[in-house]
Symmetry: C2
Subunit: 538 residues, 2 copies
Amino acid sequence: MLNIAMLPSPLDFSTSYLSTSTIVALCVFFGLLCSCIIVGHLLEENRWANESITALLLGLCSGVVVLLVTKFRSTKILIFSEDLFFLYLLPPIIFNAGFQDKKKQFFRNFITILLFGVLGTVISFCLISLGAFLLFTRIGITNLGIKDHLAIGAILSATDSVCTLQVLSQDETPLLYSIVFGEGVVNDATSIVLFNSVQTLNFSTMNAITALKLLGTFFYLFCTSTALGIIVGLLSAYIIKTLYFGRHSTDREVALMMLMAYLSYMIAELLNLSGILTIFFCGIVMSHYTWHNVTGSSRTTTKHAFATISFIAETFIFLYVGMDAFDVDKWKTSKASIGTSVAVSSTLIALVLIGRAAFVFSIANITNCTKTRESAKIEFRSQFIIWWAGLMRGAVTIALSYNQFSKSEIASTEDSALMITSTIILVLFSTVVFGSITKPLIEAVKLRQSKPAISDSTDNQEDLRLLFLESNCSINQTNHHESQSRRRSSLSLMIRHPTTTVHYFWRKFDDKFMRPVFGGRGFIPAVPGSPPAEEEIS
Amino acid sequence: MLNIAMLPSPLDFSTSYLSTSTIVALCVFFGLLCSCIIVGHLLEENRWANESITALLLGLCSGVVVLLVTKFRSTKILIFSEDLFFLYLLPPIIFNAGFQDKKKQFFRNFITILLFGVLGTVISFCLISLGAFLLFTRIGITNLGIKDHLAIGAILSATDSVCTLQVLSQDETPLLYSIVFGEGVVNDATSIVLFNSVQTLNFSTMNAITALKLLGTFFYLFCTSTALGIIVGLLSAYIIKTLYFGRHSTDREVALMMLMAYLSYMIAELLNLSGILTIFFCGIVMSHYTWHNVTGSSRTTTKHAFATISFIAETFIFLYVGMDAFDVDKWKTSKASIGTSVAVSSTLIALVLIGRAAFVFSIANITNCTKTRESAKIEFRSQFIIWWAGLMRGAVTIALSYNQFSKSEIASTEDSALMITSTIILVLFSTVVFGSITKPLIEAVKLRQSKPAISDSTDNQEDLRLLFLESNCSINQTNHHESQSRRRSSLSLMIRHPTTTVHYFWRKFDDKFMRPVFGGRGFIPAVPGSPPAEEEIS
């Protein structure tokens, strides 16, 4: 009997504390996780493979093995539990994304990232929902309601850009990297918030007011969740700075950071906010303030421990998706012919391609129009890479799809099962096919792209230096006229590069008010008798 | 409704992914964990308090609050799940114990530790079982069988020496520290193995053969579990040394160490061995070989991450025990008068005191007889500290007690409930009362104890240096007669100090055969293009 739930099942007291099936499942999964790491390491130099593909393929293989061992009865080693996913696997992944994020680039390109991540996702959501609504009835799927179509839009808008990030270099193409990374994270959060908003609303009558309500709920969730994450992050920084835990124990610092990050997620969920957004911003604040308040070994530990946990969670999810693809029961329930399956899956893939193309190219060109300098514009090659980077679908898509379509209350369980199997096909196809040609494709495209991005960043730095000089001069004013002309130039600079100057004023505010209170780089408290700070790592 | 299970409960899809009660429970627990860390830090210098006591008292307070909030209906925020304990909380604690253990001292005092940890626990088990068998019928508890009495022996033999270790200094009293630490770990494993052995046997007829069978099962479990742990540990060392993961990613190394340690535990449970012993020896082997094969940042990360996870798990358990003490249902089920409750609890405490005294003083005096030098003997003060160090009862006791007595199949549920409540009282009393006077008591006792322990260790080192000189001389023999007399002294040394010389020969074997294959200190592979090893930390 392999068909069991992984987490606490009714206990079998006869022989041991733990039921044998739970142990078998855990053994298989941990063994496979180890294999994934080893195989992924061996394939590191391979241009077609990456960690996600390795885990998916290993999962598929073990799915086949289990299918053969159980004689085509079941491939389920463990039942997919959304609790497992949303309580234990997703939070560390998203927290680590915020924690490892390069804040400078993220905030420098903040407006572009928000445009792609929020507005873009909303556009993609609308297009895919509309497309599903119009096309699915033609294929013969008639039992889905408006809520389901909107949910499909949210589900398919969640991208998975892990594989692209392994290929893009942060040093060669900082602008591109920061846009793809930032958009990927904001996009995850946006689509989950959209999905939640769809769930809470009543769609008995679809009209303009409902659409406005959806938008209102979305922005309410977005702002409150962000605020909560920032508050918890600042609180952790303040506690660790004031009490200086490193004096007694490094482990307490690390434990407190882990626990408070997780607590922020749980509080958000308790208040019906978006835990994902909260923990993401908590991660950003923690790496900006808290991380600088702890001892050197705590810094190394948190940096690598969070990355490791996130890495394990991601690998686990892909492994699971791979194993789940051969779930016989689901295929039987859907009752769809191969033709219908293929039609639905291709429709979904086409919608993903079109939905993303629609907003990437339009938003990129609109932002290009607002910029005067040629170097600050996003050229077509970059637009293409941004478009491609968001075609993969991953863990969030699968989890949301299960959440929406594994309920028994929906009228037609056949169509729901079909939606789940189609989502799995979409994830498999996009990860394996799109994923494996990403490395060669980007290498071919980005050749001449690296140059403008670097000059762009140095240009910005020059502007900033100008601004900085000006603010220094205003203190020891030597020439009133010169200063005034410079002030005018500062104003025009702000109009030309709003993000850059917002970033500059934020830095001033941060240095003057925030860091003295919450600590941060260069503001580590010097408590008498404290151990000397160890070498800072990266 | 606060009365819920913490891990996956039936999902409530109406509002969010997660059921509200799960989120409330997680919020409360993570909030309390954070408070424990902060309060524990503030009370660090306090001579009466420690982490366990803080967590217990905080748990008690929140138990009272929940009791008042729910109007005396329930204090259960989460149901105690043995799966939670044995799958997720205990393995990291035990693994960390093996991982952070100072191998040199552990193996130098190996025989003494084994005598205390294995033979001592068996003696304590026999005495407590016998005492329970003889005394409980007099108090009026007649519904317990032989198996229950033997289980009580195993349950009460599991010590919790966390608090003592916080007081003893590894540098001042190395011998004492290593005996208390080593005994604590071996004792945990022994009592769990004993408990398992009791569970598997058929006690319809209690005779000499059953006792022999029990002993046989015990030693079989002990040896096979140890071997498995060593094999998995060596495998991890070999894989990481051969593939040199640090070349690509530090996180992969850390992930592989975590996963393989956990895998060793699961494999042992799958084979019906003792996972605790396996993961303990896996931790020892990993810290001796694997830890030296990884990059500097991986070393820092694993060292602190394992300690942090273990610390969180321990705090969680004490917090839970504190909250659970006010569980109204359990007190109602037991139906015992306050008199009976007090009588049973005092009996248990008395049995623990006597059971431990019986083996500590006898074994210490027997080992003293075999030693000729005055300095190598364990003097009475040390014996007293060793005795006191093992009086606290903690997580393992609670978990085993739940496992034995929360089954519904036992004839009398009243007596079972009484056993659980009495165990909780025992744990609370021993942790809070014995625990809080440990610091002052040990400080008062150990004053003049530190001297002999240091001279003992230096004496041994001198003996070893003699031995080492001798083995060098035998190569370039200058004087045949001198060499022979030295060889004779080596033989007599081995008879006088068997552990020391076993340790010496092990070192030779390790350097010659093990380290070249599995890596270890000074045997880090020099792969071309590998990053330079960072500064080693402690």
